[in-house]
């Protein structure tokens, strides 16, 4: 099912977590939806749902393991539980509960992790979900979505609820640039080509999509036309779009706000390796935890910038 983004009016540059909260409150008229919170609803923006539908909102306290287990029980009763917390606490703290109550029995639980990535800034590495996409992708049957901006997060939230099956939706803390115009569409599992080009392809998700577009502008001044794919769904991955990019351009750069191992870079590389080997390079946090700092300082320090993407593209294109 395709979700249009035209019905969404958002202030430019809203955080994706805010867009999720608004969309959840809007979708809440569906009485099957129940929301579980680990006492961070004013950070995840599930507070809007809480205000509208208090009887279907459960703040279980600072207890993510119990939170996910309760969500599993509610799903078994035919509810659509949306369990939201900081990405790192939900995925890392409650991983075995997700395995047992959600993934293994293939239950219709929606996990929403906010404050993902190093762009949360000052709070520091204990609060940063930078392993979360790899953890979610490793679970059989999971759908994993990392939207780029507010409008696509709104569409992704509705799509996640419509779609049956376990899903992880990753949202960030800071405001993010607008990538999509009204009228653009969003479909789970289908990459959005947000810029066309035949020299090199940049595959990105989350906040790296806007940076990829900036990088593409920079490359264009050098006469290099970059295709930019928003690979918002890491799993199931859009194999066709990757194969096409590998065939039609000279190489692929993968950019993500995540550790190097096990997330978008790995997913794209698996497709490339099996179906259409080509040159690749990767822009990510690498194999390290970050530090405290301002978001922009951290993105610079850990190499998540348009310039880093441009450098990666040059490596791919080098003879």
């Amino acid at each position: 099912m395709t979700f249009g983004m035209s019905r969404i009016t958002l202030d430019e540059g809203d955080p994706t977590r805010r867009a999720f909260g608004d969309a959840l409150a809007e979708a809440g008229s569906d009485e099957r939806i129940v929301v579980l919170d680990g006492d961070v609803n004013n950070s995840t923006y599930t507070m809007d749902f809480k205000d509208k539908y208090p009887e279907r909102f459960f703040n279980v306290g600072i207890a993510e393991s119990n939170l996910v287990g309760v969500a599993g029980g509610l799903a078994a009763c035919g509810k659509i539980p949306v369990a939201a917390s900081f990405s790192v606490f939900l995925l890392a703290n409650a991983y075995d509960q997700i395995r047992m109550s959600v993934a293994f029995p293939n239950q219709n639980v929606k996990l929403v992790g906010t404050h993902a990535g190093i762009s949360i800034g000052d709070d520091g590495p204990s609060q940063m979900g930078i392993e979360d996409v790899a953890l979610a992708c490793s679970l059989p049957g999971f759908t994993v979505i990392v939207p780029a901006d507010a409008a696509s997060t709104t569409a992704a939230t509705h799509a996640m609820i419509e779609r049956d099956g376990p899903t992880f939706l990753r949202c960030g803390r800071p405001k993010v640039p607008v990538v999509y115009d009204n009228g653009d569409s969003f479909e789970v599992g289908k990459a959005n080509k947000v810029r066309d080009g035949d020299d090199v392809t940049i595959i990105a998700n989350g906040i790296m999509v806007a940076m990829a577009l900036d990088a593409a502008e920079g490359l264009a001044t050098e006469g290099v036309e970059a295709r930019v794919l928003d690979m918002h769904t890491v799993k199931p991955i859009d194999t066709a779009a990757i194969e096409q990019a590998a065939a039609e351009t000279r190489g692929i750069v993968v950019a993500e706000e995540h550790l190097a191992w096990g997330a978008l870079g790995a997913a794209v590389a698996m497709v490339v390796g099996e179906h259409h080997p080509t040159r690749m390079s990767f822009v990510n946090i690498g194999d390290t935890y970050a530090t405290s700092g301002k978001p922009d300082q951290l993105l610079e320090k850990y190499g998540l910038t348009p310039d880093a993407i441009i450098d990666a593209a040059r490596r791919v294109l080098k003879d």
């Binding site: 129940v34 009887e55 939170l67 996910v68 029980g73 078994a76 009763c77 047992m100």
Partner: protein, 278 residues
């Protein structure tokens, strides 16, 4: 939804013997599994399914008004399967397929494959949370079903159990009954040697639960405990069932610390079945 099955005492005792027999034969045939863990829970699960406690419909196992039994101590699967088979969820002959490739009777319960299994368990500490989810589902849907969750005593060492106990107590979830199968032994030693728990009922009570402690092999006490639990309003109820690991088979219950996760050897099976008397 059919009324709960209420069998006479002698019939229940016969069913319990049959369940014990099937626990022994299925695990011995599999060559692995946890018979001693399963044998300690027999009177409680017999009472739940045959003592007029739980409403269920084997022809409609997902009926939304059914009562739920969540076996959080998933390694007690042979006991759960034996009682489900006895109740008619699937043929008793299927118990012979325990742990075999292709069988839905996996080493630990898998809710996606076997009717009557309400939660996939086996990673300890998680069933009570899932049970709370089921109990909240009744509230949301305006239904009056009840949820019964059984944990092991060693399992109470898992932190998640106490997260769940805190939540259920604070929110007065009264369609929820926890039974702790307090058989005193965990994998490598007595619970008292690893993490002493007693007085377990007092500990749970501090979290705003109603609690009782009983002899988990006495049908009199088990019956009374469930009658008591159903009558409690405004608080979840915990039944600490004091039991014997391996109950009913002298090879196991004379040395309860020695047999965790070990089936009865084939050459000892006949004597064990003779003792059970089924």
């Amino acid at each position: 939804m059919p009324q709960a099955r209420t069998e006479e005492r002698s019939a229940k005792e016969q069913i319990a013997r049959q369940i014990r027999r099937n626990i022994v034969t299925s695990t011995t045939a599999a060559g692995s599994g946890h018979p001693s863990t399963s044998l300690s829970m027999v009177e409680v699960i017999t009472q739940l399914f045959f003592g007029g406690v739980m409403r269920y419909d084997v022809k409609d196992p997902h009926n939304r008004e059914r009562d739920r039994f969540v076996l959080s101590k998933g390694h007690g699967a042979p006991g759960l399967y034996a009682v489900l088979a006895e109740a008619g969820f699937f043929p008793v002959e299927d118990l012979a397929t325990l742990r075999k490739l292709g069988s839905p009777l996996e080493g630990h319960p898998n809710m996606a494959r076997l009717p009557g299994v309400e939660a996939s368990t086996g990673s300890l500490g998680q069933g009570l949370s899932m049970g709370i989810g089921h109990a909240l589902g009744a509230r949301l849907d305006g239904l009056d079903y009840r949820v019964y969750v059984m944990t092991g005593d060693g399992e109470m060492e898992e932190g998640q159990v106490w997260e769940a106990i805190m939540y259920a107590g604070n929110h007065g979830i009264d369609n929820l009954t926890l039974i702790v199968d307090h058989n005193k032994y965990q994998q490598t030693a007595a619970v008292d040697e690893i993490q002493p728990l007693d007085p377990l009922d007092d500990k749970i009570k501090q979290f705003k639960w109603e609690t009782t402690s009983i002899d988990g092999h006495s049908f009199d006490e088990v019956e009374k405990a469930f009658d008591w639990a159903v009558g409690i309003k405004g608080a979840p109820q915990a039944i600490v069932a004091n039991t014997v690991k391996g109950k009913g088979v002298s090879l196991l219950d004379s040395e309860p610390g020695k047999w965790h996760g070990k089936p009865i050897p084939p050459e000892e099976e006949a004597k064990a079945l003779e003792e059970i008397g089924a």
